[in-house]
């Protein structure tokens, strides 16, 4: 596994798109870590006199409806985005991974039950389920994460299941079984490593989706509490006052687009590197 990773990283760095993606992602992480240091103003400070200001040397991306500095708010927002993305993807990914492997490798009846649950969850359009759940649960970031997890884990589950199923009857697996290896050993030592490839690609592509779900929920007003500088909430403020100034929306959309671009490029690069058939045909 170690040798494999080293080669992978090396090859990734040779791909300009992957480099670009990694730059963006490290940029995101840095901004999130040092948000307070790089913000010219306190993100919550209101200057009503200066509200709706266009970009200037004082307010690099302008101000919002309460005179708060948009740049500082967006910088803070990177923390929220990163937090939601990592936590939600970790939780839903783990759940999906475990359930997917069980579904693929376990008894048929269990597979059918799990598949049925996956399919049922996928039957809900995301924002609709979000509306219903968000109304039931107390408002806040935890609720957003719960909503995202519930709407996402089935996707991981399906992919992992498909991968597990195709591996289940591979020759080396059959050989292991013939030699008497237990199911647990087979799953964790042989299936898991081979499933991780598509899994990580999915995770990389799912991260921007998760961030977008939070943005969408906050945009509709059912996400973070008011005053919280999530990117979606900033877009909502901008939308409410779109006729007064376009800058809040223009600025608010930028980090979302950059970050989703970055993660998606990374996912694409990973796919290019990890899919052996593709590699050969390059």
């Amino acid at each position: 596994m170690g040798h494999f990773k080293h080669t992978l990283l090396g090859r990734l760095l040779a791909d300009p798109m992957a480099v670009f993606a990694m730059l963006i992602i490290s940029g995101l992480v840095l901004v999130a870590l040092f948000a307070d240091a790089i913000s010219p103003h306190n993100y919550a400070e209101m200057n009503l006199v200066d509200r709706f200001a266009p970009p200037s040397s004082t307010y690099w991306l302008g101000t919002d409806n309460l005179g708060r500095d948009t740049f500082s708010r967006l910088a803070q927002g990177s923390r929220i985005a990163l937090y939601v993305a990592l936590v939600a993807v970790s939780i839903s990914g783990t759940i999906g991974l475990i359930l997917g492997m069980i579904a693929g490798f376990g008894p048929r009846w269990l597979d059918n039950v799990l598949l049925f649950i996956f399919d049922t969850l996928r039957a809900y359009p995301t924002i609709i389920l979000a509306l219903a759940l968000a109304a039931l649960l107390p408002r806040g970031l935890s609720t957003v994460i719960i909503v995202v997890v519930i709407t996402s884990f089935s996707e991981y589950g399906r992919v992992v299941r498909t991968q597990t199923l195709s591996l289940k009857n591979a020759e080396f697996i059959l050989a292991e079984r013939a030699m008497g290896a237990s199911s647990a050993r087979i799953v964790f030592h042989h299936i898991l490593p081979n499933v991780l490839g598509p899994f990580f690609i999915l995770a990389a592509m799912n991260l921007p989706v998760v961030i977008t779900i939070e943005a969408g929920m906050s945009f509709l007003g059912i996400g973070v509490p008011p005053g919280t500088p999530s990117w979606g909430a900033t877009l909502k403020d901008g939308f409410d006052f779109i006729r007064t100034t376009p800058w809040i929306i223009v600025a608010g959309g930028l980090p979302l687009i950059l970050v989703t671009l970055g993660f998606t490029f990374l996912g694409e690069a990973l796919r290019d590197q990890l899919d052996p058939k593709l590699r050969k045909s390059r």
Binding site: I128, L133, L136, T212, G216, F219, F265
Partner: protein, 313 residues
């Protein structure tokens, strides 16, 4: 194939039943009494009690679910007590608008996406491929509601090329299509990227397959190989993605309908969830999920018919 179809249809029905019943249970346990919202300050306790009785809100949950399905099987989607009219009326007058929006989006994403994807695969690793690749990702990246807002501002308000509100005059196909163009484009744009990429990736994968290399070995030209074999196979995942994508498009439709002030299932659901208008929520959800599951089912069956390897048994 017939047996497969039968099984899938049964499964789809089961999914719809479970999904809707679960949602029904969630709705009922939500805090918030519809009578308060619907009747406003004028509601007397007697009036509220009468409404509660009418809506059957005092029965146990399972009874309410059973009653709901009983009515549905008889073709009755319930009564909207806010307007004293059948839910079916509100839902079925809204549904065509959303369907038009979704199919418009599919049209945009399928045509532009397949073209872009095949083009990329054909010219793979050239700068053209790179640019298309970046464009594809760029389209996916922007949240659909931002795309909708920007389109509205640019194309409707500033350039005045497209109308801002509504769905057009009834009976006038031209007007309908004119009002449909921009919102469906805003929804479909994200999927152009997905489709293009899926098509490209799948074509490249197919091109590496044994049977393709055999065809090449037999002397068939590269172009022919791509467009006769690979593209056909590549359409499968495109169909799959779009079948799944309809769920995402329904979500995007909520935003598009709000931004462009269009009637439709999306805005109907959003308004009725906020207003705790249970009968309308359940009726519209049933139709929305039913529509989505049916589309996914059709995509699945088409998939299975075209490529028997996909029928996992």
């Amino acid at each position: 194939m017939l047996q497969y179809t039968f099984q899938r249809v049964l499964l789809a029905l089961a999914i719809i039943v479970v999904a809707i019943s679960a949602l029904f249970t969630i709705m009922i346990t939500l805090p918030g009494d519809p009578t308060t919202v619907l009747l406003g300050p004028r509601a007397t306790p007697e009036l509220r009690a009468a409404f509660r009785a009418n809506m059957g809100l005092d029965d146990p949950v399972l009874v309410q679910i059973a009653n709901f399905w009983g009515r549905v099987l008889r073709g009755d989607l319930g009564t909207d007590y806010n307007r004293n009219r059948p839910v079916a009326e509100a839902v079925f007058s809204a549904l065509p608008h959303t369907m038009a929006l979704v199919f418009g989006a599919i049209f945009w994403s399928a045509t532009l996406g397949i073209l872009l994807g095949a083009f990329s695969a054909d010219n793979r690793n050239s700068w053209l491929d790179r640019v298309s690749g970046i464009l594809s990702v760029g389209f996916i990246a922007a949240p659909s509601f931002v795309v909708a807002l920007y389109s509205l501002l640019l194309f409707s308000v500033t350039l005045r090329w497209f109308p801002t509100i509504g769905a057009g005059e009834p009976g006038d196909l031209g007007s309908r299509l004119y009002h449909l163009a921009l919102p469906s484009f805003a929804i479909g744009l994200a999927w152009v990227g997905y489709v293009a990429r899926i098509v490209r990736a799948s074509m490249l994968e197919t091109l590496g397959e044994n049977y393709i290399r055999t065809a090449r070995a037999f002397g068939l030209s590269r172009r022919k190989v791509i467009y006769n074999y690979a593209l056909r196979v590549a359409i499968l995942p495109a169909v799959q993605v779009l079948g799944v994508g309809i769920g995402g498009m329904l979500s995007s439709a909520v935003f598009a309908e709000i931004v462009f002030s269009r009637p439709g299932i999306g805005s109907l659901i959003y308004d009725s969830v906020s207003g705790r208008n249970y009968p309308v929520v359940m009726g519209s959800m049933l139709v929305a999920i039913g529509f989505f599951v049916t589309c996914a089912l059709i995509a699945d069956l088409v998939n299975a018919a075209l490529d028997p390897r996909q029928r996992v048994k």
